[in-house]
């Protein structure tokens, strides 16, 4: 059950559901009827389908459909928000009048007749999911299951899920902008349980998995990706059987290229979302144009990567997305802005206003957060560490924005001893302070890799899809969990 890419003119999708230009103007007039400075209407129709294989059978499917409109009214830095799940003109106007209550005057506002704006396309789709029937999905999932079992006899259980989602969004503004975007997404997840002999000859049972995601159709699952999905899931599970816990303490940490970018996301990214800085509660508030990292460090947040999970053709306030340079050769150059923070700072938004759905107001969010490559070979970076750890994969992270403390959970990695990779290690949390960790990145590799994992970022109760990427880096010191 997938929503096809609309073929009509921008705006015609919701017009066919009764949301005409005249309705849009009347809803915006109600939204601004109490003197709000600005407003936005965000219409969304989304659907998703997934199939799940457990216990040797593709025996569960699920579909979800959601439709509605959210209206935000701004009065200075204040926001009124309401939404309606009913697109009838009366229901829309009722929501608009509720959101209008944030403002307290009564003035006449000009509402310009909406005119559609054309968008770039950062996620072209060759084989849309609405052309793919359930039985084809069932075949794909079975094939991955069989390939996982065939890869190693220690694999005992395999679970597989394949999901696709699509949504049509329409953003309408009183200045006359009408923007419609169609957003596809697909995600596949393979989980394995294996049993084998551990490092001390004891029987060890372990589970792990791998998932990949992007804004794409069926063509996403080319032969290479399918093979990698299965082999990574199996290999990452078997890895744990042999792995040990490192000794706890503070030590140098080398982060492998790719998924390690969770460090960027937690330690640096969130603190550079401008709402926290506008409120002066981020540890990066008041640091603009200051040197905050080694000159090898350049960090960008990019909404335009082709087919990336974190890409958007337009942000959820209707503003152009872009590649935003946050840190350039160690110097803080920009926060990520939505309209609210941009107008507070008197600059243009960076197209970072995002939301989970029409039920939520937008706020500054990351898209694809990347560190640009530096001068070092990855081998050189590992060789530079006498005693430390090399982190390869991660499961999750978290941050305190103001204090700057952040943590990320390493699922797999290796000890480093005398410049060489040693015993495999697993399941430890790593903790540090964002600005301090950023300042302690003292070697950046030349091997930038964008991770294809299906990362989801949570903030203030809202989840949005994101991507991240990083070259190999060395952090001179972080606190690593583990047991003596």
């Amino acid at each position: 059950m997938s929503i096809s890419k609309p073929t009509g003119a921008s705006g015609s999708y919701f017009a066919s559901l009764g949301v005409t230009a005249e309705v849009l103007r009347s809803v915006m007039a109600d939204a601004l009827s109490k003197g709000g400075d600005n407003c936005d209407l965000y219409f969304e129709h989304s659907s998703s389908t997934s199939v799940l294989l457990t216990d040797g059978k593709v025996n569960q499917a699920s579909t979800h459909v959601s439709i509605g409109m959210g209206v935000r009214v701004r009065s200075g830095d204040q926001v009124g928000y309401a939404y309606s799940e009913d697109l009838s003109p009366d229901a829309l106007r009722n929501a608009a009048r509720t959101a209008a209550g944030i403002a307290r005057e009564s003035t006449e506002r000009d509402i310009v007749n909406p005119v559609a704006i054309e968008l770039p396309n950062h996620y072209p789709v060759a084989k849309p999911w609405d052309d793919v029937d359930i039985s084809h999905r069932v075949k794909m999932v079975r094939k991955w299951e069989q390939a996982a079992f065939a890869r190693d006899e220690r694999i005992q259980r395999v679970e597989v899920s394949l999901s696709d989602a699509s949504k049509v969004v329409m953003i309408v503004r009183p200045d006359g902008r009408l923007i419609e975007d169609w957003r596809p997404m697909t995600r596949a997840n393979v989980r394995c349980t294996a049993e084998g002999l551990g490092p001390d000859g004891e029987t060890v049972r372990e589970s792990n998995g791998y998932n990949i995601a992007g804004r794409a159709g069926l063509e996403y699952f080319n032969e290479h990706r399918q093979e990698q999905l299965v082999s990574e899931a199996v290999d990452r599970t078997l890895f744990l059987i042999d792995a040990i816990s490192p000794s706890p303490g503070e030590m140098p940490v080398v982060l492998a290229a790719g998924p390690s970018a969770i460090l960027l996301h937690e330690a640096i990214g969130h603190g550079m979302e401008a709402d926290f800085n506008r409120k002066r509660i981020s540890i990066y508030a008041d640091k603009m144009n200051e040197t905050i990292a080694n000159s090898q460090v350049t960090i960008v947040d990019d909404g335009t990567l082709l087919g990336a999970r974190g890409s958007i053709n337009v942000d959820d306030e209707g503003n152009k997305t872009e590649r935003t340079v946050l840190v350039e050769n160690g110097v803080l150059r920009s926060y990520m802005h939505d309209e609210l923070s941009a107008s507070h700072y008197g600059i243009q938004p960076t197209g970072s206003g995002r939301r989970q759905s029409f039920r939520h107001a937008p706020m500054p969010r990351m898209r694809s957060t990347l560190m640009e490559p530096g001068p070092h070979d990855p081998e050189e970076i590992i060789a530079s560490v006498d005693k430390g750890i090399y982190c390869v994969t991660f499961s999750n992270g978290a941050v305190h924005i103001g204090g700057g403390d952040f943590s990320f959970y390493m699922k797999t990695g290796f000890l480093i001893e005398n410049g060489k990779l040693g015993a495999p290690i697993k399941d430890v949390n790593i903790i540090g302070n964002g600005p301090e960790a950023l300042a302690r990145i003292d070697m950046v590799g030349n091997d930038l890799k964008v991770d294809e994992g299906g990362w989801t970022c949570g903030k203030d109760g809202q989840s949005v899809p994101v991507s991240q990427g990083m070259p190999t880096v060395r952090v001179s010191s972080l606190v690593v969990g583990g047991e003596q």
């Binding site: 979800h64 540890i283 508030a285 978290a398 305190h400 103001g402 047991e483």
Partner: protein, 437 residues
């Protein structure tokens, strides 16, 4: 309210049956919330939400699928169910997926749970949030960067209808208030602290002043924090964050994890999984409880269950489906209010007896491995020596096996936290591995 919802759920059952489903469970729900935040004297965000939802579990010729939509226009709903049933036919059969036997279904008395505040309290969110924020600001005479007050109120209702005759309803109200602050610390750090309370009945909320004072205390405690040296030692986990530990213990008890062999509890039924000082109870019938309920997702009446009895794991959380797969009698698929019985001493009395302990008042990230029981969490809190607060602590981890952690459980304090569906007092553990400098 719920009559409409029962009608909606019944319509889904009837429509799905007429389109070819052999059995159906349908849910219909609705909710209304108002959510207001005020920072440093000005309203920041005011959100009014009215939501509705419908979902269905479809059983079609021994095949199973689940679906949800908020598009309840009759034609859209019919088309949705038709596609859903068609999709289900392409799956592989799963004969254990059937409705619960009617004789096992039922509900306990909803009214006794007292989950709805019928007091018709006229709530002025504007003055409520203003007082919440201003009292917090006033409680913090120095080092305050910014204070935010937040309040919310709402109500929700749900109906569950099955094609074999079960009808269950639930309804509840909710009122919450709290504040968070950013403190000015050395080195440009702006550590945060917060506190909040939530209750089913407005009159049960603690005073705004008590929350403001709690936030002030917690804010002051953050200042100057740093890691101390790695050490194995005692840990007292504050009541309001103990759910992190309880969750690590309960997650692997689910029927799905047991069946899929992804559980460290799989070979532990009737075995000792914690020290004898620890018990854990699931109590669905707590009056005004945040997790209270009359029936579970299978339409079976809820009952009080002792999950861990003085250290012994007495049961897993097995729903009807996994009960059939595992050949076991079902218990229930999920927990309601989890209760750790409180002890007799205050946290200060407990800390006074220890020469070294870290009082953990917050977790930061981390994870646990349900298959092996290994965990590793970031923590913050206060180092105590001989009952005296010595140094605020942050940027440290705790790591180990959940069985070692729980085996080292010594004592529960007398301070159960009642805001939430995990009601735990502060918990004392021995010989926990801390990693720091």
């Amino acid at each position: 309210m719920s009559t409409n919802l029962i009608d909606t759920a019944a319509l889904i059952v009837e429509t799905a049956k007429s389109l070819g489903a052999s059995e159906v469970t349908a849910f219909a729900g609705e909710g209304t919330y108002t959510d207001v935040k005020q920072r440093d004297g000005a309203i920041e965000k005011w959100q009014d939400s009215q939501s509705r939802s419908a979902s269905a579990a479809l059983f079609v010729d021994d095949r199973y699928s689940v679906h949800s939509t908020n598009d309840l226009r009759p034609d859209a709903l019919k088309a949705f169910l038709k596609r859903a049933i068609e999709a289900t036919r392409h799956l592989q059969p799963d004969p254990e997926r059937r409705l619960t036997d009617p004789e096992l279904m039922g509900s306990t008395d909803l009214d006794q749970l007292d989950l709805v505040d019928t007091g018709n309290v006229e709530i002025d969110h504007r003055s409520w949030v203003d007082q919440m924020q201003r009292e917090t600001t006033a409680a913090i005479p120095k080092n305050l960067r910014s204070a935010e007050g937040f309040v919310w109120s709402g109500s929700s209702a749900q109906a569950m209808v099955t094609s074999n005759g079960f009808v269950g309803t639930s309804a509840s109200t909710e009122f919450g208030q709290g504040a968070d602050v950013s403190m000015e610390d050395v080195g440009g750090k702006l550590p945060e602290a917060y506190d909040y309370a939530v209750a089913r009945h407005h009159a049960d909320l603690p005073s705004i002043q008590s929350i403001a004072e709690q936030v002030a205390t917690r804010g002051a405690r953050q200042l100057g924090s740093a890691a101390v040296a790695s050490k194995r030692g005692a840990m007292l986990v504050e009541n309001r964050v103990a759910s992190r530990i309880i969750g690590t213990l309960v997650g692997p008890m689910s029927g799905g994890a047991i069946y899929e062999q992804r559980s460290c509890m799989a070979d532990k039924l009737d075995a000792s999984v914690t020290s004898a000082a620890f018990s854990l109870i699931d109590e669905p019938h707590l009056a005004r409880g945040m997790g209270s309920r009359t029936h579970d997702g299978d339409g079976r009446p809820t009952e009080r269950r002792t999950l861990i009895d003085q250290g012994r794991l007495t049961q897993w959380l097995i729903n009807v489906y996994y009960g059939r797969k595992l050949g076991l009698d079902p218990t229930t698929g999920g927990t309601s209010n989890l209760i750790v019985p409180p002890g007799h001493r205050s946290t200060q009395e407990i800390l006074g007896d220890l020469d070294w302990a870290i009082h953990v008042d917050g977790f930061l990230g981390g994870n646990s491995n349900p298959t092996t029981g290994r965990y590793s969490f970031g923590i913050r809190g206060m180092l105590y020596e001989n009952g005296e607060a010595v140094a605020p602590v942050s940027e440290m981890n705790i790591s180990g096996s959940v069985f070692d952690l729980m085996g080292g459980f010594i004592e529960a304090a007398n301070d159960p936290w009642i805001c939430g569906s995990t009601r735990s007092p502060s918990l004392l553990f021995d010989a926990v591995q801390f990693s720091g400098q």
